[in-house]
Symmetry: D2
Subunit: 340 residues, 4 copies
């Protein structure tokens, strides 16, 4: 339940509500806004009847929240969450490119790619140091060495690093290396990791699981938010269906759905979503049209020599063209948006 | 296998090849183009070795076709198929709107909607007279009466009619009413209906089945083409997955995939693909960006009073805005396309 | 809604109820049983309030039916539907084998197989004369010639014929050839065909579509029943999922679910359900344990020479063993059932 | 590749092969059996050509292993893996019941249930102390307190404990509490946890992920085996499909498939697989027929009062009947098996 307080509410009145909620066994949330104070109550809402809130003069409005997600619910917050990293602002009408190779393969590789995607307009550098692979006999990433190369690429280019952390203990251990903590599709429901991500002061990029319903994805974001961190980017990356023509089925309709249900920014990963570089290029542009706040795309100087995922990776040249073409579409979209 | 003949090939030489293919038990295809003659051979290609085609002087090139689809294969035809209906040209860089209600409900309803969508830029009028419904107790359409109203709407507006025909016998019976014969998702693999659609001289819009792989959709188009009609529009309309937030999962990546594999135009139906009017509006624009040749969209003057599918139907006002906004995006896309 | 009348109800009283239901725009159903008369009312049940049925002395019980399926609903009928063909009784505790090749390939083939499966205990002979195939270039069945061979096999062995009819017009045209009309998975929602099957006086075997929810399967049976034929066998034959290790995912839990929801017999087709003869053999036995009333299984004297589906076809020798082993399990199951 | 050595091979000869494999960059495996020594080589098998193994007199046979899984591959080991815990032997023809509540709720609850399922024939006690839940606001389990109750139940009844451990660090921390470490469906591809499970000297029960292909499940077992622990039980627990009638689609055909591909015991969890206690009861018996080595089933003295999953939980009374009825079927199956 959301309780909007009147403008001239006193601190005592506010505290009395918070205390009342708490005594009934629900969790009170204090959400001060620029104009008004909003209070949330999470738990069995029926119990709140005994408080007779509707009779209190300093309460302006009471809004029930039927969805199981509360903190990340669009209803809980007027406007969209904007996540700022230095002068990069994710959400709120911008479109941000996170580009880079599937895996960090060497110092030279990551730095060369970083410099090129930076020049083309990327603000974030993606690249995996820990690669969860189906086979124990496949390349598993450079691990900490890879993280060090990412850090060096950051220092050289000013790009912010988005990289996947697989284990709870690593969230703290490798804190210095990532600017945005990525939680991968296989870990979407690793609740311990979600809670740990809720304790840091850096943004989290949460990927949708291969067979996760959108409500489940949102509930995982709720885990992170409830643990204290609401700087969350949701990421659609393709779901598993019966179709075998492509690696996954990229569900672009998830973007407007997630943006209507939550106040969080939404990214799209067209590379994993399709497994095919030509189609990924096209779907990246389509993602912008669906209202995505950015993309996570695999880019390599030499995709055909990549250790993993080469087939779905575009060249740095194609990335330059993608940014240019998407930019032209975004210009039109923004004008259309303003006319409304 | 595709056999490209030299420019100066004689009729006798051409016939000898066709006869040779035929005698080996394969089906020969004679495909004369504006510049060159192409011959196709469908069946067990290994048998063709005995013809020693590679040694014949009047043969320019031999291209094996590994895919199970031949006639609709992109390799079988240089350029895209363009389907013309009067001055409407589907495919080849245009973007065509097929708009109208889910079901024809009354004479006034369909004529009013037809006039409005025509004014906004639609070239095709969609509307169902026979409605396949999950329950035998639901509204099943106005049937032939509905077709008569569609015909009247065509006469009044000049719009071409796209409407679903459910049964083989109805293809001929209702020939006068449709300009484009629609084969619905549930009938995608009704092979008798496909063959019947192959015998008419009107275009066919073939919808992807709820659980059809893209290769299966293409094979169904092959059935129609083999029966004699290659004016086929493929239509992505959402697939059935585990996701329950929306009615179906709209697979927009199917568009570039189908356009790469076949020479046929591809439409998208965002209404059934999402089941949600707000999201359908957005996905229609995204479809244009993926390279679709048009959309099939549910439009109604009063969606909330519609007999069926109201939730996924946009208003005529929204349709006007959609055409305007999509047009601005298409302008950018065409400029980008030409720069390549 | 189901209305159970008292034992001593008069004809006039019964008629008055039927008339009252009819006048309110609902469809009345007269369902006389051996002990009591039951009346059904199909349509908007809220309207029935004006009849004040609960006040009538000759009404024993009123049962609302919330499910969208009525006639095939377990609630509409005490006991299970038993379908009798001569001395073969399907349902009600028996277990019936429908065995035979995927496709009728020749006179000798079908007669030889028929004689062998008959000797092993099959009561029904399966075999396709019309084969719906993904590719137009694949073997499509012997058509009417195949039906004639099936008829001859019936005359020689006394087996009843289960064979697929693809088109509405063929239901009547080939009436003499089939004893049980099979509607295939691709045609499950071909409503015209369902209605036609509702007009014949022979049983119908209705296969679940590749992506059909169980409720949709039941609604298709409702179409047949509403058209007049309630001798329907439902058939689980595997659904399409993301799993690629086998041809389909055989959903055996559908059996107890369908038997709880409807009063119809339920068969299982383990051949298409798995696409693998070894696993089909095992799943056939498991089907018996889930409460299935029979199986539809592909059997061939020489599976490896079969025109289609050889990989999933068991030998006649294996079939003999299957009947033996399943019989031993059924004996145990019947004893367990009686002890309850 | 599998290399079977002759009976009279010397230690020097064996070592020379192992060394040769190692020097080529492949991983050598030394697998001494009761009669013969088998050597495995994991990696790029083409490199082994330079060893000219086929020419060596002390090599009896060379078997290529095309599947990506090696150690758990049926080809790598003659016979089935049998996992012994005291006098309980899992695999090799036995059928083991792991029964108990979804979650440990209190000391009395778990001890009462444990005593009852023990009396009915269960050998393993299941019960969750850490419950991964979709919502952060749901009951998350009693955690360590729950583990202590499980331990007490073990002491009182002699049942072995199967319980889920969610996090890598907990594998060691809670080592004393579990006898079989359960890895849940959401964690199937938590590779760090798999590796940790590979370091312990207790068996691991690995559940199939909601959208995991069988090959992926087997590869996860390979991760555990490669880390050193080959006492692994695979567990089918239902997959996520489009069907909404039940909680999941229980894929019983996975059992014979997994047993053909690997040498590991396979369990079935019909409770999560169906989400419906009546159907779970039936599917448990069907699982026995498919060749499963045991089941994991939710049993409670008062299912309707259970904190979680009550709908899919059978009573202790039903469990007694299940063991009885399944036992009668198993007797028949064993006789059938021996006759072959």
């Amino acid at each position: 339940m959301i309780i909007v307080l009147s403008k001239n509410v006193t601190k005592e009145e506010t505290d009395s509500i918070l205390k009342g909620i708490s005594q009934l066994g629900l969790e009170p949330l204090y959400l001060p806004g620029t104009e008004k104070i909003v209070i949330g109550a999470i738990g069995d809402e029926r119990k709140l009847q005994t408080l007779h809130l509707e009779a209190l003069p300093f309460i302006e409005k009471i809004i029930p929240v039927l969805e199981p997600y509360k903190l990340v619910n669009r209803k809980f917050k007027p406007g969209e969450t904007i996540i700022s990293l230095g002068d990069v602002h994710i959400g709120g009408g911008t479109f941000t490119y996170a580009a880079g190779p599937c895996a960090v393969e060497s110092r030279d590789q990551i730095i060369e790619i970083a410099e090129q995607v930076k020049a083309s307009g990327a603000k974030l550098l993606r690249g995996g140091a820990f690669k969860p692979r189906t086979s124990p006999y496949s390349f598993q990433g450079l691990k900490e060495e890879g993280l060090r190369y990412l850090k060096e690429a950051r220092e050289k280019t000013g790009l912010h690093i988005v990289t996947e952390i697989l284990h709870t203990a690593d969230v703290e251990r490798y804190y210095e290396y990532y600017d945005i903590l990525q939680i991968g599709a296989r870990n979407m429901q690793n609740y311990d990791l979600l809670k740990e991500a809720g304790h840091i002061d850096k943004p989290v990029l949460l990927k949708r699981g291969l067979s996760a319903r959108l409500e489940e994805l949102i509930m995982c974001a709720e885990y992170i938010a409830l643990a204290g961190n609401s700087r969350i980017i949701l990421c659609e990356r393709g779901i598993r269906t019966f179709e075998t023509a492509m690696r996954n089925t990229l569900d672009l309709s998830a973007v407007p759905y997630l943006k209507r249900e939550t106040h969080l920014p939404v990214f799209v990963d067209p590379s994993h979503g399709t497994g095919d570089r030509e189609i990924a290029f096209i779907m990246a542009k389509a993602a912008a049209v669906t209202g995505a706040d950015g993309i996570l795309i695999e880019v390599h100087t030499h995709p055909d020599r990549a250790e993993s995922d080469g087939k779905q990776t575009i060249t740095t040249g194609a990335f330059t063209r993608l940014v240019q073409e998407t930019g032209e579409l975004l210009e039109v979209l923004r004008r259309q948006h303003n006319e409304h």
